[in-house]
Symmetry: C2
Subunit: 325 residues, 2 copies
């Protein structure tokens, strides 16, 4: 397929073309950049919903049900499942097949992304995949993450509405509190609500909310909802809460400010990747190896080693194109 044809088909919402374009942006480098450039002006319409929760909370089931609910309400729905499982274990792949079967024939687009193997890092790959899905007309797009660690928080930044999922009987603690992700939650869900302790978990979340959030007149107060995703119970209420939050963001001009903050982060990320690539291009591999050796022998610290790399660096790529400048 020619580049132009691929882009046209992405913009027409063709799932095969979308899948192929995501593979391109996952590869990083020039091919990712060119793909994004060609479609970027068509993006910016989708509502991005992050769903985050520890393994075992029933996250995939809720996300599938939520996607089906939105599919009934709106047009094209997509899921990006950020799967921290290693490619080695195989478990996730099996799980994915089961999930995908559940979505077969529903017209919902689903894509798994693993936590490693991306040149520019996972967060960048997810951000670029979101641009592809957005430009292809998917709305909402649900991004599902395990929700712990900085990398996951970086991904959550892409979302306009963040749903944090808990389940009762998960040891003594509420995972979201422990993981410090409660303050990014716009909607809180206690799934597996037919299990013992569901009310206790919901109450603990409520209590922590009132502690954490200062309630300005214009503040959004995250609702705490209960679901039994396996039976589809409570899912419409979650979809309602997401729609309500979407409207709230729009009314208060908060979507725009979220967007700007996210773009600034992305800009810094792109600068990082590009600049390091250039700096390492200037230093020869032998020179880098020497510096590492000197740090390993404690002759030099890492900061001084970095300075030695930068000493020869003038910000440009000096390599192949040097003669043409």
């Amino acid at each position: 397929m020619s580049d132009r044809l691929l882009i046209d088909q992405v913009l027409a919402g063709n799932p095969t073309a979308v899948a192929r374009a995501i593979s391109r942006v996952e590869r990083g480098g020039t091919i990712a950049r060119d793909t994004i450039r060609a479609i970027f002006s068509h993006s910016g319409r989708a509502h991005i919903v992050g769903v985050t929760g520890a393994p075992g909370t029933g996250k995939s089931t809720l996300v599938n049900e939520l996607a089906k609910e939105f599919r009934r309400r709106r047009g094209q729905v997509a899921i990006i499942a950020v799967d921290p499982s290693s490619p080695f274990t195989g478990g996730a792949i099996l799980g994915d097949r089961l999930r995908m079967q559940d979505l077969t024939g529903t017209g919902i687009f689903i894509r798994s992304m693993a936590t490693r193997g991306y040149l520019g890092g996972l967060a960048a790959a997810v951000a670029d995949a979101l641009v592809v899905l957005d430009a292809a007309g998917f709305d909402p797009i649900i991004v599902e993450t395990v929700g712990a660690g900085q990398g996951e928080v970086d991904i959550a930044k892409n979302a306009h509405t963040t749903v944090v999922l808990e389940a009762p009987g998960f040891g003594d603690d509420i995972q979201a509190i422990k993981a410090g992700i409660l303050e990014i939650a716009d909607v809180l869900v206690v799934n597996k609500a037919d299990r013992e302790g569901a009310n206790r978990t919901a109450a603990a979340l409520e209590m922590n909310l009132s502690f954490n959030k200062d309630e300005g007149a214009q503040a959004w107060r995250p609702p705490v909802l209960k679901t039994i995703a396996l039976k589809g119970e409570g899912v419409t209420a979650v979809a309602d809460a997401i729609e309500k939050h979407r409207a709230f963001l729009g009314e208060h001009g908060l979507r725009e400010s979220k967007e700007r903050a996210r773009i600034e982060d992305e800009l810094v990320n792109v600068l990082q990747r590009e600049l390091v690539a250039r700096a390492l291009d200037v230093a020869t591999p032998q020179r880098i190896a020497d510096l590492i050796e000197r740090v390993a022998s404690r002759e030099l610290d890492v900061y001084s080693a970095a300075e030695q790399v930068l000493g020869k660096f003038d910000g440009r790529r000096p390599t192949k194109d040097a003669g043409q400048v």
Copy 2:
């Protein structure tokens, strides 16, 4: 305290000086760099043990017991508890106080580090804190993390021996498998082994190990151990396994190769931070704001915006010192 005196006292192993030096490296920038430079040549001796596991697995209890065991066996032991809890929730701080009480009078140094608020990122702050503790003569140093997400994996890279913790009855799944951290494990521990399902969890870990690891003649096969950390049971066996792995690394020259890989990563991280700071220095805040605006309105994509920043960038800091060059 003068800088020189502080450094001397760090090298003498004075806990107050060590705490102060860690606060300095946490601040980032010049002060962190100068501190590291002054002590770096004294580092490189400590064995760094990473302990990673989901909230609720009893990680803190095991780490405390393990620290006490090493304290009995060797000299100075330190713990860095990487705590993803938000400063807002307060829960962690309370938990920390309880932990620290448990260690009072044991001569074990403990330091909590939160997941945000570090200029250069948490992984960098932890790496620098490890240099301080190492130079101060602590050995082993235990780094405790929740173990999910890329940020946590980055921190785990600092460890010479990684202990991955599970607990039975944690929903249907093994957390480490789901989180893809099984392949970084050198020692596997099923804690709360008096609970139902402990043997099943241990067996599942064993099975996944045999799937995942190719067993060369020289390969380390991670042992699967059971503990009841609350009662101190099984902790000596974990300490033994860590010592054995330490010896294994030494015998096969693997400590050196781990070190080199880690130094290379750190070098790239330092380059990233430094270069982005320089590039953003060149562009005026107004120029950055304009670019963000143009991306927000989809007139420009992020990659093109980054190129515009870099177009004016020659790798040097042009600001205050420009006249003196």
